[in-house]
Symmetry: C2
Subunit: 208 residues, 2 copies
Amino acid sequence: MTTATQRILGVDPGLTRCGFGLIDMAGNRTASFVDVGVAGTDAADPLDVRVLRIWEATERWIERYRPDALALERVFAQTNVNTVIGTAHASGAVIASAARHGVPVAWHTPSEVKAAVTGEGRADKASVARMVVRILQLDEAPRPADAADALAIAICHGWRGGGTGVDATARTETHQGARPLAAARSGMTPAQRAWAEAEHRAKRGGRR
Amino acid sequence: MTTATQRILGVDPGLTRCGFGLIDMAGNRTASFVDVGVAGTDAADPLDVRVLRIWEATERWIERYRPDALALERVFAQTNVNTVIGTAHASGAVIASAARHGVPVAWHTPSEVKAAVTGEGRADKASVARMVVRILQLDEAPRPADAADALAIAICHGWRGGGTGVDATARTETHQGARPLAAARSGMTPAQRAWAEAEHRAKRGGRR
């Protein structure tokens, strides 16, 4: 509804690697790249030191770029049980940092993010990275993968909006996960349809 | 080894209710009560608002009392799957707050806490609350239960020490959970043995 450009910080939370991806989403829904990076912590360090490093990194990103929104990948209890607590600790630090700066936080599920950037909720990491490069007109895919994922989360938030609160995203996940490509495209802007068609052509043209 | 009094902030983490219990542990291992409270958040509020409230509460406790250590109950992935992510988010905010103030964070498992204050790793909440009242010489049990638990976590940390890092507490959990009362008592100070014996007499004297 707004025509103003929105600055969005996407965060792929994790203790070992936490990806940060910053984009500007124009009122015409054109996404442009601003910055990307990864905060890493050493698994040998005490947990409080690791959580502090993630918190400090979030503070630096927010204070430097003053984003209008921070979008996080939602942590699921069902997947990766061994690392889910650490990821949730990292997320808690990221959320606290954003909230204390008055930056609204939104959550998107992995399949929402994949569907938003590739049109396919079960896309693999390589497809997500390829579409991030295309949408943001980058020269190459950001490394490591967490950086590309963070940009994908930011793009997803720019196009979808909303996503505040755990229950809301849980509901969306159910529908989005099984959402067919055609239905996903029906809600697209002309720009989104253009890249979706480009992706479709690329897929037919040759796979690598 | 030190004879200085240590000020310990115990935290029973949670989004709906987060308990804070502050004690001073003297060099002779005598625990004395300083303050106790609970930070509550509304389940209807957005998750970022709730995490911020917990973060702000932790900041207030730390800035007001400058504890020497913060002790947290360790979050387990295996238990309470529905709430564990929220609890881990709250913990992440608590950890970030403590770490940025240079307050070392330690973790103790529920059975370590129960064993420390009651001599029994599977003690129920009422027994824990009763022993907290006795150890700290309170007039009545703090309400709600999260407040008593937070004090129990602080006492546990004062007597046990250590507990830094997730893997260390995971290892301890295995042994401590099945640790027999006699063995638990063998590591007690005279003061601890005194209350353990008082508790034993109270149990024989009459149950309510």
